[in-house]
Subunit: 210 residues, 2 copies
């Protein structure tokens, strides 16, 4: 049974702790690779080139679009965001699952082009908890919190497009959920076509006494 790499897309409401869960997931298991997005927006304090994002100018980004260098890209708040193709394809060829943390718009593009991609949507245990977390951070103005809640409300409309939801109640439990879901996804018939075909051929061969 050859394990084929899966493209794993993680989306979810702001404030659910996607970044923390993804980081722990990639650190805890060596069969996952984290895809780093490219963007034209300015780095924020503390963001690291090549870790947080690849920061490029608009011209560079648009040239890369022309060259089919992204597996998905979107324009959001007047800035481009995209997933560079080369890294994803290379890691998957090595049998790794590649994890992308992207918005719903990009997630749907991915699903169209890669029907075997696995789409995960991270939620808080409840809307109330999500709101409390955003307020509790103390780093956002009430206007920003309100904006994020509104955005969460809009994004929630698309949850049915995802394969699984993850509930981030405790980080370690959520990492384990993500791990189980990804490992389970390796066991769908659609991701094991070669193995199933081979088994069928061999069963026929043996039952015919070959």
């Amino acid at each position: 049974m050859v394990r084929e790499g899966i493209l794993v897309v993680i989306s979810g409401f702001a404030g659910t702790g996607k970044g923390t869960v993804v980081k722990k997931l990639v650190e805890s298991y060596d069969n996952y690779a984290l895809s780093v997005s490219m963007t034209t927006r300015n780095p924020r304090p503390g963001e690291v080139e090549g870790k947080s994002y690849f920061f490029v100018d608009k011209e560079t980004f648009e040239k890369k679009i022309q060259e089919d260098g992204f597996i998905e890209h979107a324009c959001y708040c007047e800035n481009y965001y995209g997933t560079p193709r080369a890294y994803v394809e290379q890691q998957m060829q090595e049998g790794k699952d590649v994890i992308l943390e992207i918005e719903i718009q990009g997630a749907l593009q991915i699903k169209k082009m890669f029907p075997n991609a696995l789409l995960l949507f991270m939620m808080a245990p409840s809307a109330k908890v999500l709101h409390e977390r955003l307020v509790g951070r103390g780093t956002e103005t009430p206007e920003v919190v309100a904006k994020r809640m509104k955005r969460a409300s809009e994004e929630a409309a698309g949850i049915e497009n995802y394969d699984f939801i993850l509930i981030n109640d405790e980080v370690d439990k959520c990492v384990q959920q993500a791990r189980n879901v990804i490992e389970s996804a390796h066991l769908t018939p659609g991701r094991n076509i070669k193995f199933i075909e081979k088994t069928r051929e061999d069963l026929q061969g043996i039952s015919k006494g070959e």
Copy 2:
């Protein structure tokens, strides 16, 4: 988040050790209930009434069919086999996942009537290993082994109807696979409609400042 019981159907080739895996799974975790089938065939040595099967006569079985007392039933080798409805429904209402070990024919009936049922197909690591296991048991004549291999070959045509495959290489690993797959299935959007709807309503409420 209320956990709704899932109807879990396990099928697979004879000789893959379905019975052993299912037994261990139900013993290891208390949120699973094992459904016992009813049949009109005669008990084999060692089989226990109410554990292996409920053994009944043809008349009783057919009366129960009339009363809609089965969630699925099939006739195989001139004997009836069926899954009594009452036990399954009662356990699921209590939030348990109910596990059925049934043939592909019954599995497809289940999927039609219960679209949220989870269909698992157990395979050996290869056709060769399956054949070796059947021969190695030493309890079957070469004719029986040949018949089982032929049957496996026929059943293999239906694998794509299942949600996941399980590979029984080592029993404990396969139990863990089954466990992960079932727990993951609890996280699909389709099995969390109420939770998602509730979150949506609350998000709207909060973002409108209610």
